[in-house]
Each structure stands twice: as C-alpha cells, then as structure tokens.
Amino acid sequence: MSPKTLYDKIWDAHVAHEAEDGTTLLYIDRHLVHEVTSAQAFEGLRMTGRTVRAPDKTIAVPDHNVPTTPDRVNGIENEEGRIQVAALDTNAKEFGIHYYPMNDIRQGIVHIVGPEQGWTLPGMTVVCGDSHTATHGAFGALAHGIGTSEVEHVLATQTLIQKKSKNMKVEITGKLQPGVTAKDITLAVIGETGTAGGTGYVIEYCGEAIRDLSMEGRMTVCNMAIEGGARAGLIAPDETTFKYVNGRAHAPKGAQWEAAMDWWKTLFTDEGAEFDLVVTLKGEDIQPVVTWGTSPEDVLPITAKVPFPEDFTGGKVDAVKRALDYMGLESGTNLTDIEIDTVFIGSCTNGRIEDLRAVADVVKGKKIKDGMRAMIVPGSGLVRAQAEEEGLGDIFVEAGFEWRLAGCSMCLAMNPDQLSEHERCASTSNRNFEGRQGYKGRTHLVSPAMAAAAALTGKLTDVRELV
C-alpha cells in the first residue's frame, strides 16, 4: 500500500460515496451547532419536512450572542440576540439534539465545549457552521467550518459534499524560546504563508515544537489554520492527546477505549508520504509577535517597527495604506510605543485554562494600568470554575481585570462587549479585520502573555521584559 498522510487516512475512513469526478459524500461524526448560523438551517428542515438524521452526533450550544456579565441569568436584553438563542433552545428540543443551554455550567464557546466534553476525538470528522472549527484538528480530527446551507445538509444527511484538498505540511523544528507560545507559532506561520497561502490545502502541523505543545496549545495552533486560508489543520494524536481525552464525559470507556486506541495509534503520516507543499520554520527563530494591520498576515515580531506601504508589492500596497489609516498608525513607529486602551483575553483561540494560567503568571500581585479596560472571558463555564479553583479568578480581580462568564464576547462583539470608535485593543482572539471588535475599533492580535503584559504597561509590550 502506498504511504498515506494523516489527512488521507481520516478522509479514506469517511467516504460514504464517491462520484467519478471525485465529488465525495464525506460522513460526519460530530456536528457542532451554535445560534448564529443554524436557525435558517433548522427552518429549512421544517420547510421541507426533513429531520435530523443523527441527533446523537449533533451537539448545540449558544455562544456568540450570550452576554458574559452575571446578570445574564435574567435573560438576554438585546432582542435579536434573545430571539436567536431562543430559536436554538427550541430547535435543540424539537430535533432532540444534545444541548448545553446558556446557564448550564458546561456552556461555552462551541470549540472549547466539544473537546472539553469528549465529543471531539482523534480520527473523527467534525463540522460546525463556524470557520474556527479548525480548532478540533488538534486531536487529529478532520474539522471543517461550513456555511448554513451545509449545516442543513449535514443535519439532513450526516454527510458533507467535498472534494479532497491537497496536503500541506507545516513543520516547526526545535524548541521555542521562553515567552514564545502557540499563538506566536500560528501567527508566525500566517505571516510566512499569507492569509491565502493555505487555500485548497489541509495543513498538518508537525515537528518538535508542535509535539512539545499541550492540547491547549495545539488547539490554538489549529484554530488559526483558517486564517491561513486552509480548509483544516491537523496534528497527529499522541500520548498528550490520549491523556487529555481519557475520562472525558463522552470519550469511549473500557473495551471501547481499547478498540479506539488501537485505531488512533495508526493515525500518523506514513514514512515517505508526499505533501504537495512543505513549509518549515525554526522554533528558535519565532519571536513573540503582534499584528499591526487589519489582516492576520500583517504580523511582526514585537521588537519591529510599523512597516511602510512601499515595503510591499502588488495589491497589498493599497491594502497596507488602508490598514495603517484604519489602525491610526505611522510607519516607522516602534510597535512597543503603541498605546493600548483595552485588553481582551478569551475566545476559542485563547480562552482555555492554560491561557488563563499564562495571564496569571504575568499579572499576579500586579495592577493593570490606570484607566485600562481589561476583560478576561473564559472559554467555558468549566474553564471558569477551574480557574476559580486554582485561585486565578482572585488574581485577575485583584489586578483589576473584569472576570467574566463564558462566551465569544469581544472576539466578534455580537454581544454588548465591543470596542468604540478608534479604541485600541490588544486581543487574544483571531481576527483583526476592520470592525471585527466594534465599529472602527482597532485590534492587535497577541498571545495571552503578551495581552497581560500590555494590560500592565498600557502599551504593546515584549512580555520577555516583564518576566
């Protein structure tokens, strides 16, 4: 048998039908659902008299719209948001799918809840009406973000119409330097490949620096595969993965666990398998990075200066001019001289327990800059509970942070957590697009440790100077 990549193996295990031209019905093992992209799909089922084919494999949780302030037990004030969440409540009940309602402690961002509850397992196909579904690739699961029509398609048929992507390998060799995190890796890769560099590919991340990451870190890396344009990101499962999965609520138990492990251990890229594209970065070369523009590819080491439009070519020159204007930045300014109004720590990129620990390490016993608005939003109710138990909640509150309830919050600002015009934010989320965190808001993407450092100094800061 010819050697296969990890992607090839998972793909082959899920082909329910293949047409002559390669158009494939890919069987879906887990379908995650949230309130913003599902209402129209359920409505479509109703209109056509169809049902959910595999309600047992379908898991729903509201996250994008939910307020993250304690008063949310009294319901959502914004009418449209309330209607969307209520629609999910109704749809979950009517179609009999698994559901974590807003005030359940297990509620959280869909990409954090899936792994946490053991729904996401190695070798699975996972889809969700959300581009950051790529997160689940950290488990060696093939995870695609899909649109609402596809949500409806998966609900009705438990399959997705796909054509196979190409294989790309991103290898991060060696060790990371102190102060450099998974977030810096993933941003550095996008800086290298560009936001369209991964288009048409599924990326497998590998190399020593990836192996050394915890599951939390691996999820951060895969989460932003989509920002590099890839259809999915993957990391081969190993002992770190199995240890994380073992014992989770919906992970297999007993004999089933053994059977699963037998298969999971075969999920790696065979020696000699071919990749269509290979990108290699040295772990030692990666610096703590920040974004200066309005695309995740606009990334530079924190020690650099805001670039000049003339540093670029083609259509990017005008895009950079527009970005600098939008961001209110002068070319040539030291990145560390950029003053910050707000810090947002959270999202499916960096809202897990390890991220919160990294923040606590930086801010413990210190105070955030006077007048700074700084918010920590855990990725799930369980992450919050664990942080409380470890005493992190107290550290955050004493340092001056708002310590919120779980949700997407200011990652996309669909709930009341938003930037105002020209407000500048150091954010651990994944998108710095125009208006993403609020109308005319300005976003700099950073790691949790770097966000914590910015909260203390009031400027973009090299965290290595603080610890």
Binding site: D21, A39, R53, T133, G147, T157, Q256, A260, D318
Partner: protein, 201 residues
C-alpha cells in the same frame, strides 16, 4: 434555487485585496433568523456613514454601479468567517457573479449554494476585466456558464474553469440535499460498517 445560465450586466470593480466577510456583512446584521433582506447591509461599513448616509466614493454608491450584477475583486475575496450571510447579502443586492484571482474556501462553496457563480482567473485576466469594469455602466460584461466564457464589453473572450458538479447544480438550480438523499443507501451502508469498525463514535 434560481438557475444560473447566462448573465449580462454591469461589473463593479473592487480591486482591494483580502475583502473579508466582516466587510461584506458586519456582524451586527447577523442576528436575523431569516435568509433574506441582507442586501441593504451589503458592505455596510464601507457603503454607509454611521448616520445612514451614503459614502459617495464607495463603488456601489456610484450611479453607474448601483445596479451592478457582477463584482470584479482583488485577491482572496471572502476570507474570514463561514457566515453564509455574506453570499446571502451579495445575492440579495443583485450580484450573481464574483470574479477574482482567489477566494476563501468556505465563501467559495457558500456562493454555489446561493446561485452565485464565483470565477477564479489568473491575475492578467482579472486585471483586464477590472479595467473593463472601470469603464462604468455602458461596459456590460457577459458571463456564460454553459460555454464557460466571459465576454468583455470590447468583445474579448475569456474562458474559465468550473467544477462539473457545481456547474450542473447551478445550471439546474438543484438542491444539494435532495441530490444527496438519492444516495441514502450508500450512507446507510457506511453507517452500518462504521458501527462495527468504530463503535465508539
């Protein structure tokens, strides 16, 4: 779904690269639970001031492009979120075809589910069409899906590629779900086998 065969109309030039889904439809407009009515918010923050007045120099506000049927755009159009609200807004506005050197994957797929034809062409050809679009409303372009050809206002003909299955669905206005349902037996068989080989799923 409406059928797409041949389209003749005005093309609006948007040379900016990396036009993302937050630009196409900002999230404040994602709260509807319907599929329709998003056209009025297409490119909202680029098209309107906060007070609702139009930003005069935005391309779709210019008299010659207000009724554009085609968009010629910079690289990596539609990057960002999976929100199908983006193609819903584009279609609702009346644009049925987007041409660029590259598209983000999810957006590209979403277009076909909504009767929009996204066309990928090499840089020189996009440049040529961009120049044609810049001529304004008299420069009507023709997009012929059956022949897989674009004809510029000057009569230049450009061939384009499209996936055969997706072309078929667009031409016939077919609903994917119905098509897949016809293969239910294959899905049943797959499920039975998977229940044996991967019972923990």
């Amino acid at each position: 779904m409406e059928k797409f065969e041949k389209l003749q109309g005005v093309a609006a030039p948007m040379p900016l690269v990396n036009i993302d889904t937050d630009m196409i439809i900002p999230k404040v407009h994602l709260k509807s639970i319907k599929r329709t009515g998003f056209g009025k918010n297409l490119f909202d923050e680029m098209r309107f001031n906060r007070d609702g007045t139009e930003i005069a120099d935005f391309v779709l506000n210019k008299p010659q492009y207000r009724d554009a049927d085609i968009l010629v755009a910079g690289d990596n159009f539609g990057c960002g979120s999976s929100r199908e609200h983006a193609p819903w807004a584009i279609a609702d506005f009346g644009i049925k075809c987007v041409i660029s050197t590259s598209f983000a994957d999810i957006f590209f797929n979403n277009c076909f589910k909504n009767g929009i034809l996204p066309i990928v062409l090499p840089q020189e050809q996009v440049d040529l069409l961009m120049a044609d679009a810049e001529k304004g409303a008299n420069a009507r372009m023709t997009v012929d899906l059956v022949a897989q050809e674009i004809t510029t206002s000057d009569g230049d003909v450009i061939k384009f590629d499209v996936d055969a299955f997706k072309k078929h669905c667009l031409l016939e206005g077919l609903d994917d779900i119905g098509l897949t349902m016809e293969k239910a037996a294959s899905i049943d068989t797959f499920e039975e086998k998977a229940a044996q080989s991967r019972p923990w799923v």
